[in-house]
Structures are given as structure tokens and as C-alpha cells.
Symmetry: C3
């Protein structure tokens, strides 16, 4: 038995958005058949719209959330377009990065 | 004095697992001598097993957690094998990505 | 209308630090004109200084936090220096990774 697992190249999208927009984003991801995502809370932050850390930090957690999803590279363009169009009307940022996964059929 | 720090290439493992499996995962990482990790909470998510966001979101945070660890590239194979074997019996996902760090001797 | 958005290469810094150092770090990022960051909580972790998961997990969340910021590559050296000098006196870790973003003018 070997521990040398084969890994497969995928793309990770990190979508940082305001909490009130989250359900709309998750509905959009469901429509786009993006089935693997995790929602991470935040304690505060700062963006081009100003700092929101002073008021929100610790006591009012979750003003912004980060939706992390892993996609096949072939799906990035079709997903990134609608996701970005929802984010650009709001405060938020979308990043795309490279990851390796073990089970390619899941994404 | 220069701010040009030398950075070193490492691998980051993100292990997304159910909260009840976390202690077993951390024990495994301890056994494998993976000494640098951080555990991030989540608010909800969706995977090949279905969506868990509706029930868990916000009020019951922490159903899934993300264990983030940074490893020397030479250790990825020996760590990824046992970690994946624990995750594959459960709901979860493991991703591997490239990062740079300043202090290489820590990992 | 096409969904093929142009993405631009940036660098992501993940700064994992103790909660009491967070305000000093955010002040430093403000001074350095790093305007886009998000602060992520943690539930626990382990580092070269030992494990802090047993005491801190779940009930005393937020002992460590992760400041995630996205920067233009041209700014990494000038930002990483001061950030690392603050972190190295404390428990903490800084990683640098590659990301793509849609709106380059924001960083």
C-alpha cells in the first residue's frame, strides 16, 4: 500500500461578500451546479469602500462571509461571470487560485 | 536594512471535515508531526452529500471546520495519504496548494 | 455578452496572528495603504510554540485570527517586511500565494 495519492488540478474561487447577499449567492451557485462550497465567517475587514473592522469586530461577527468553492478549470469562465456580476453590485471580492484535489469526480 | 525577505516554497493542505471528526484529525496530525495548523470554523456549505447550509447557517456554526496546515513539499505524500484515508470515510475535502513562507525551519 | 472575464495576477498574504495583536496589525496595514483585507476567526491550532487547541477550541474562539489581504505583486516586498517584523516577535505565520482577481484597480 502506498500513500502516493494522485492529485488533480482544480480552481478554487473565494467569494467574499456581505452576509445579506449570501443566500442569493448560494442560490446562484446551486443554479450553476456548483455543489461543493464552504462558507467561512469573518470578524471584520476593509475594502475600497472603507474599513468595517471597528464596528463589526468580534461582537458583530459575520458582516462579511467568504464562500470557498472548488471547480473544474473548464467551468471557471461560466461560473465566474455570473458570480462576478452579483458581486460587482455589492461590496465584495472574488479571487481564483490553483489547488490540487484527490477526488476529481466530485467537482 | 532591507524589506526584501527571502521566501521559501511550501505546500498548504486545507482539510474540510465535520466538527465531530476534528479531534481525530488533529490527533492524526500530531502523530504525523504536523505541528503548524489553524482550525477555521464554517457557517455552512454544500458537498456531494447535499446542502447543509439551510439548517446550520449562522445559528449552529461549526458543523464543518477547515484545518489549514503548511508543510514542506517533501512531507506531502506521507501526510496526504493518512489524512485522505480519514476524510474519505466521512464528508470532507482535502486541497493542496502552493504557498511561500518566510521562516522555512518551522515546517 | 460574454462571461469570459479577464483576470489579473495578484498576491495573497495570509497573516495568522494572536487576537491581541490584531489591532496593531490592522493599524500597520492601514499605514502601508493595504486597503483590502478580511479577518477570519479560528477555533484553535498548533504551532512551533505548542498546541493551543485543547483550551481554546470552540468555547474560547478567536485566540488566533487570520488576516487575508490581496496585493499587487509590486507591493509584496514593502508590505511583507514590516508585517513579518511584527509577526516574528509573536506567535504567528505569514504565507504568500498567487491569486487571480477580476478588478485589478482595487489592490
Amino acid at each position: 500500500m502506498t500513500d502516493e495519492l494522485v492529485t488533480h488540478h482544480k480552481k478554487q474561487l473565494n467569494i467574499t461578500i456581505e452576509r445579506p447577499v449570501l443566500n442569493r449567492m448560494l442560490d446562484l451557485l446551486d443554479e450553476l451546479k456548483v455543489t461543493g462550497y464552504t462558507v467561512i465567517p469573518s470578524l471584520g475587514g476593509s475594502g475600497s469602500e472603507g474599513t468595517w473592522r471597528r464596528s463589526g469586530m468580534v461582537t458583530d461577527a459575520g458582516q462579511m462571509v467568504v464562500v470557498v468553492c472548488v471547480l473544474d478549470e473548464s467551468r471557471v469562465a461560466e461560473v465566474l461571470g455570473p458570480v462576478f456580476r452579483l458581486v460587482e453590485k455589492q461590496i465584495g471580492i472574488v479571487t481564483v487560485s490553483d489547488v490540487q484535489v484527490v477526488r476529481p469526480e466530485r467537482f
